[in-house]
Structures are given as C-alpha cells and as structure tokens.
Symmetry: C2
Amino acid sequence: MLNILKKHIEKFVQVSDDEFEGIRNFFETKDVAKKENLLEAGQICKHHYFVLNGLLRKFYINEKGIEQTTEFAIETWWMTDNIAYEHNIPSEFYIQAVEKSKILYITQDNQEKLLRAFPLMERYFRFVYQRAYAAAQMRVKYLFSLSKEEFYFQSVKRYPEFAQRIPQYLLASFLGFTPEYLSEIRKRHIS
Amino acid sequence: MLNILKKHIEKFVQVSDDEFEGIRNFFETKDVAKKENLLEAGQICKHHYFVLNGLLRKFYINEKGIEQTTEFAIETWWMTDNIAYEHNIPSEFYIQAVEKSKILYITQDNQEKLLRAFPLMERYFRFVYQRAYAAAQMRVKYLFSLSKEEFYFQSVKRYPEFAQRIPQYLLASFLGFTPEYLSEIRKRHIS
C-alpha cells in the first residue's frame, strides 16, 4: 500500500528502495471511516494527509451554517489546511472522509525532519506544491470567468471519474449550488 | 539590486556569497516600462519573473472583451503562468508592468539547471510554491465566502500598501467590479 507513495515520488524524482525505507518511517497510516473528521474547525492543524485510497474533502461552515466544500482529494493527492499546518495554528476548515479511506499522514515537525534527512523530498514537495499552485490559479480564473453551470459541465468533462464518484450534494456544495439547482441543470442538459 | 533576491532566498535557506554568485548567473535582468507586456495571450510562456522593484499584474481578456486581473506582484514576488511555463505551452494570460519595474527572469530550462546545480534552490522554491499555494487556497475561500464588497475592504485592511499603490480601475478589475461600482462603495464607506 505504501508503494503508492513510492510510485508518486518516482513521478518526480528517483528514490531507491533503501531511501524509501527511511522515508516511510516519517509517516503513519490511518484507516478513516466514511464521514469521519480528520480535522475540525478550531483545532490546531497538525497533519498533512496523503490519500492511499478513498476520498477526502475539505470544507468550512459559512455564516449561514452551510458546509461549503472547497477541495477534494483522491488517491495520491495531498491535503491539509496549508496556512494552519505551516504555522501550527487553529484551522477554519474541516477535513472529512467522503468514502472509507486509507491515508498516510505526517506532522509538520516530521515533514521538516524528512526534508532535512532526504533532500530529494524537497524536490518532490516542490513539484507537489508547484502543481497544486498552478491548479489553484486556474481555479481562480474559472471562478471569475465561468458561470457556475459552465464550471460544473467543464469539471464533469475534465474529471469524469470525480463526477461519478462524488455524491451529488457534495458536488453541489463544491460548486456553491443548492442540490436542487444542480439536479435542475443536469436535467436541462440531458433533455 | 540582485541583493534583493539573495535576501529573499535567505528568508528560507542559507546561501553563501560564492553560491549566490553561481545562482545569479542563471537570471537575466530587465527594465520594463509602465504598461509594457512581458507576456501576451497566445505566446509560449518562457519566463518566470521575480520583481526587484515595481509592480506587475496578470490578466486575461474575458468573453466580453474586458481585462480581468487575477494577480498582482510587488517586490520579491514571483509571477508567471505556472501551467504554461511548466509545460512550455501558449498562455491564456497577459503579464504587464503596472509601474516602471525592474525584474529578474529565468527560463524553464535554466530553472531546471539551477535546481540541479544548487539543490538549496529546491528548498527555496518549495517554500515559494508552498506559500503561494496556501495564499491561493485562502483566496478560493474568500471568493466563496465574502461578498465583493467585503473582499475589497478586507484586502484594503490586510494590504494597505497595495490599495494605495494600485490604480483604482485595476483594483476594480481584480475584484470583478466596474470602476464606477468601486467608487460608489468607497463613498458609501466614507460617508
């Protein structure tokens, strides 16, 4: 199962079996039940999560008391509240398993030790953050330029496996729709 | 002037004078006139820019023919179209100097050579992307949770030097306002 992390590292940088034996020791594994929270608003954000299998989402509760989903993470994606994690401060977010999931996690202290002990991991995380940042920039562009309806259909087209896997009410929350509105535009599109 | 880059690197990682002599050779310097474009939509995005002084903005032209500003960069900030730069493909964005500026730039090839020659720069760029990603995540949260008016006043409060320096019509573009609407909410706030 940990081989999933090794393969992901190898997408960006060479890592020997010996090195990986050292690297894996910095991580803990956890089985997460469906709807279990890994992080809750108000808690110090201590962990960076890597999905081995399953699906996580990140959300906050807005001033109307509604859960606003801002991100999903499937296999080989990293997730945390990055600002809270880096500065070891309370988070405004929840991180929750959408499906029964198996994850790796690392603390900020251990991540720093890992980077010092295995500089190749600096290169790996540089790529991870670089890609994540590029995707976030495109997301900002889409939030400006696409209507919510266009964004929905573009997301379904670009990430069909997501759209099938994510419960409709969570997809609606991610898009800032009500579930009713999402159901309506899907019907309109089919007819 | 290049000392600005050295100081910025030293925020994250130690660098000796000798190392920095090697590092600076990977960069070129450029003086940019006010309103000069460093990148135009349709061009291959060849460079990663670091602002020594001045102010850049990134924008695209939306389907109504209006310039939508998505980012600004002041001293010590990096800017590029990250997806287009990494994959060496045409950009959908413009990068333009808002003020007369002095910048450093590096090509993707040279950035890769720099990272191979000076692994300490992997750590530096890992931090640069990590912080940029964290900020972009917060931006997505604000785009969901704040009204445009709230976002404006929060931005002014958090980045007063920005709000003073950026021409009002560009601030309006960044916020997705018309300049008239921005002028109206500012008046309303003062009165």
